[in-house]
Amino acid sequence: FTDSPVLTGASNPIQSPLVCQPSPSLSKFFADNGSTNPASDFFDSFTTSSFISVSNPNAESPTVAAPPERQLSSSGTTMPNQTHQDVTTPIFFGAPPMEGPTGASQPGLAEATPPFSKLQAVFSGSDDPFATALSMSEVDRRYDAWLPSEETRKVLISVATQQFNPMHVDKECITMPGLKFDNLQGDAVKDLMLRFLGDQAAAKRQVLTASSVEQSFLGLKQLISTKNWRAAVDLTGRLLTAHGQGYGKSGQPTSHTTDSLQLWFVRLALLTKLSLFQNAELEFEPFGNLDQPDLYYEYYPVIYPGRRGSMVPFSMRVLHAEMTQYLGRPQESLDRLHSMRSVCQKILDNLEEGLAEDGSMMNLTQENRQEVSICELWSCVCTLVSSIAQDFVLAVATYQSLVQYEPEQTVQLLSAIGRIFLQIGDIKTAEKHFLDVEKICQTKADGQPLHTAVMMNRAFLYLSQNNYAEAHTCFTNILKCDPKNPVANNNAAVCLLYLGRLKESLRQLESLVQQDPALYLHESVLFNLTTMYELESSRSTQKKQALLEAVACREGDSFNTQCLKLV
């Protein structure tokens, strides 16, 4: 059970080679040069680098690290609060609150949150007051706040009172995940190239793979941002294997850290974006409903002394709820979202009564009250996501309530509601919503984005009334003010087809793809283009191969090759 869970632990049997850098020298950050937040800078650079710590004999002794101007009381490992009584703003921790209605932005801090597990490896031992202070960060408490179920709470209490015996833990209630498949099937674009363009052409294809980047969070981010999501899934697999949760490890006792859960989150999120829902469901399964005791910080009092709350990222909960909808079980998605929402609401209620998130007593300073809105935002995300389930009535109601939370998105949300009604076939109600949009746009200052929204909605109405000529006119009107609008360009071409003007439509789409591949080599546009190639002539394969060439030098391995219609 005390097998070191952290990726950065010295005793970790690491299978794949990890890049190591020496710990930054502490003296560099505590110089007397009058810089404003030396301590915070230290933490930021420490954690935003690609540093994966292994025990470094050259590192400074941890006890030197106490910042000169602060006296932090050693408040032990059980109470979650008082250290910040004399501190008005927490300055150590990097993450500014989520965008939106929250206040209190913190000056001079970088964007990434310091993963505390990494810091813990350097500052070992729970007697160190500094470490204790770190583990009781205000921001962490707020983001990690979650309300465990009764059974989970009992287990966590027994851990805290040191009555817990890991031998007696019910295997049903611990999380034992593992990779359920070994590697994704490489690069679909390259496979097509081998088949249709030959070996030489295929050899020229250059994409980042799991092996061509740093085996770390940084490498992972590179793969994500270049849209090589299959390679990114493979890399998460490697990193999780290093953590002991690799292929075949499902069902074996293990332990979890903030990092390992973030890796799972990224892996499952990418599988979702690649539409590999069944794979994702298989690997999500061991996590139950994300409330098992070993997913809480309190379960690891040695590794995370004094820290409370759930290790599961809120975004992972959202993903978990959305998953069943993609698998054709939208009711389950709604159920999960509703239970998330009720937890968020309970937390909010607690905060509003001046209690801590979990209902315990605490002293709230003024700034903390502002952070209450983080929870509101969480509620809001829940409701936003529930709208994507098949329940149209609920979707519409949710979008409508969202307008209160995100008033700057009113036009987009009302238009989306209108489109939902068009999908059902209720043209009249769609029209009503589109009229509401027009009224809003009239009252606001005359701007191009608003004009676009109004024209777009009108076009969809005309489409629903079989008036493709008028729809085409609306789309071309948008292009007069915004000639590069990709949606208007694509949709205008689609209308031309319904008007019997195949050649014109083809020419328009082809020239868009040639002139601006960055924008137009998109799945939806290419589906239209290849469909029209097939309608135009029997020799469409050549033209589709030309598209393949264009795609090959630009798109990552997550490109949906079905739209090329080559197989």
Partner: protein
Amino acid sequence: MDVNQAKQEHLLALKVMRLTKPTLFTNMPVTSEDRDLPGDLFSMLMKSDPSTIKGAEMVMLGEMLTLPQNFGNIFLGETFSSYISVHNDSNQVVKDILVKADLQTSSQRLNLSTSNSSVSELKPECCIDDVIHHEVKEIGTHILVCAVSYTTQSGEKLYFRKFFKFQTDEVFLEAQIQNITTSPMFMEKVSLEPSLMYSVTELNMVTSEEEGESTFGKMSYLQPMDTRQYLYCLKPKAEFAEKAGVIKGVTVIGKLDIVWKTNLGERGRLQTSQLQRMAPGYGDIRLTLESVPDTVNLEEPFDITCKITNCSERTMDLVLEMCNTRSVHWCGVSGRQLGKLSPSASMSLPLKLLTSAQGLQSVSGLRLTDTFLKRTYEYDDIAQVCVVCPFLSPES
């Protein structure tokens, strides 16, 4: 879906694509907080994706239109739209191109082309386009026949056809009723009051007796938001079948009458307006029974009267053949001409037959041949008769 008939290499290629409405492209957004590992990466990627809603990238239902990717289903009453494209695949100019699109159903053939004149010339890589529409009024097989005729540069006249087949589906009347109040309700009556033309069989009782149990069993009430389906089978009434000749097009079936009770007998009642229905097609000739006895004697000739109705739009010249079966023996002349029958007209056909087997026997073996199209229609199991032995066994 398409059956290519021509074996010869043609200079022109014909392509057909069903045009259902386009669909809106949906995205797969993933929420990620700044403090999560991906940070704002996913959000940045969504922002640069051209198919997301700008300013509201989490909205899944985008605005990009995608063309239909498969044929889909066609239901009775829907409109079938299709793009027809003739493309000059060759490198020579082709002249006098005539494109015809016809829809062949079991009862009729319709011309759907929007223009019936020929195109004088078609250059290489150019095409002739047409979008056709047809409101589906018949069930069963529909065949889209596209014919292209053209003249090559050398003066050779060429012609080819392609056939595209599709089916439509039939419908009983199913009424779905939902309790949208906040209290439970008891459905006292949900009945279909037929119009004059139809007779209705309610299919919501387990047995057809007065005291029969409803198909919903012990669940005799509807909770809030509960839904129930009620099924009815519709048959056109005999006298109206006769008067109208054949029931075609839109007919009025009747009204749904719904009575419910809530707390302490609080009563509610709704009647729908007259429900309408599109009749399915019956085929070219319809044979119905006008009179037949229930019980006949063994080996004694008896009379039946049939009625033949011409349901097509052309005059028919019919020949009647009677074929004997193991138990049915026809009397009369087989292979005689019945004479001409104009569209929607009907004629009475008295026939004599006898049976050689006892028990419930099925009258079969009538064949009607349309001499025009040389098409034969077979009619078997027209009626059932109970055949009894008239001789009592001698007692003593």
